[in-house]
Amino acid sequence: MKELIVILMGAVLVNNYVLSQFLGICPFLGVSKKVDQAVGMGIAVTFVMLVASAVTWPIQRFLLDRFELGYLQTIVFILVIAALVQFTEIVLKKYLPALHKSLGIYLPLITTNCAVLGVTINNISDGYNFIESLVSSLGCGLGFLLAMILFSGVRGRMEGNESAVPASFRGLPITLTAAAIVSLSFLGFGGVIENLFG
């Protein structure tokens, strides 16, 4: 049980995919303008990560490892993720049309969200078993959600205060600067897990 908590908290705080490992920056910058959209995107990505790990782990273990097809890992995983994202899009369009509309083009782009591919491949290379990889992907998804919410809050304040930003920094430059500062703040979590549970 303790190992699972360590994996979960580590994925959310210490090895946060967006803020510490810089994966999945495209939706992080693209959909973080409003908090509700950011939450929707975070949940969609978490869902895709969870299902993708649940599907790719058995594929890796029972197919690729058994027949020594490790070199097919990337292509097979991307195939599975792309199908899952399409599936998520169909589900959202049917049951949550408002969210589907507000996510717009960024929803199909989860297909190429490297955080999703990253979490499935890291689960394998870290040698996690099935339960551990599920927990790890849940943690990564929650970490992504947390980063999106934090950053959309920061951005909300900046958008309302356009005049406080120097003219040459308005728009993307100040957004990237703010992202860097939020990312710096996550450095503070380094070592927390080791000291709590170590």
Binding site: F67, L69, V76, K94
Partner: protein, 275 residues
């Protein structure tokens, strides 16, 4: 050999399973689209140029269906035919499209202007404009690297003697070049226009004259010559209000530098004046 077979088979099987999942999902969770959407979309030309102000033809079609206040004559490339077709499908009154064409408002070709420095950087207008307003002696004028020609979807723009020219018979009026030009010297004018001011320099007359022999020096002769109050000089530059213009060409005759030029529009090729 067997290894290759296993690899190919496994990817194929996984792909097929994913396909089955998606087909089933699409079947059981199908959301019926507005049945007018395919019809409205079929009326639009599909250039996705953005002249209507929406994100592509799909966006415009959706806006037309969802909001009855969205006007049906915004598709400039499609012209009157598309507007009429849209009005028929949507059951509205037909609104005419005012065909527009792009004009590069600069006559500062190589014989009229000099370079103030030798530019050897990236060969794009956007990069050159960032360096002291471009290499040309006139910082308002066309730099001639052809950013506009690069974005034109119908190849209506050619570069000739250091400046860009729009062929009005080919131009579909999408406005992409207008948005691209870093000096903002490309303007949309009604296709029926007969005279245009081919200069954007707001400098004083003497400065403009020094930089370019074809520039507008703000002498006010055109303003005085115009019988219908359509031409006015603002900030040292003549401007023609095409809505008041009666195509008498008095300003063209009066202009001492040639900054006001005759313009043979055309817009849609079916315009009767063209043939």
């Amino acid at each position: 050999m067997i290894n290759v077979l296993i690899a190919v088979l496994s990817v194929t099987v996984i792909g097929a399973l994913c396909a089955v999942l998606l087909v089933l999902a699409a079947k059981y969770m199908h959301v019926p689209e507005d049945e007018r959407f395919p019809k409205v979309r079929a009326c639009l030309p599909g250039a996705n140029c953005g002249a209507c102000g929406y994100t592509g033809c799909d966006g415009y079609a959706k806006a037309l269906i969802e909001n009855p206040d969205v006007r049906s004559n915004l598709c400039i490339p499609g012209g009157d035919a598309t507007a009429a077709e849209l009005a028929r499908v949507l059951g509205r009154a037909v609104e005419d499209v005012e065909e527009q064409v792009a004009v590069v408002c600069c006559r500062g070709d190589c014989s009229a202007t000099q370079n103030k420095y030798a530019y050897e950087g990236m060969q794009t207008c956007a990069a050159a404009a960032a360096l002291f307003g471009g290499p040309g002696s006139c910082s308002y004028g066309c730099m001639g690297f052809g950013d506009c020609a690069g974005v034109c979807p119908v190849d209506a723009i050619c570069l000739n003697d250091g400046i860009a020219h729009v062929d009005p018979r080919v131009c579909i009026g999408c406005g992409m070049c207008v948005r691209t030009c870093p000096h903002h010297i490309i303007h949309m004018v009604p296709a029926v226009s007969r005279v245009v001011v081919l200069c954007q320099s707001h400098d004083k007359g003497a400065v403009t004259r020094k930089n370019c022999t074809n520039g507008c020096i703000g002498c006010m002769k055109c303003e005085k010559a115009c019988p219908s109050d359509a031409v006015h000089v603002k900030d040292g530059l003549a401007e023609i209000d095409q809505r008041k213009c009666t195509h008498c060409e008095a300003c063209y005759a009066a202009c001492p530098t040639g900054a006001i030029a005759r313009f043979v529009g055309g817009g849609a090729p079916q315009a009767p004046e063209q043939q």
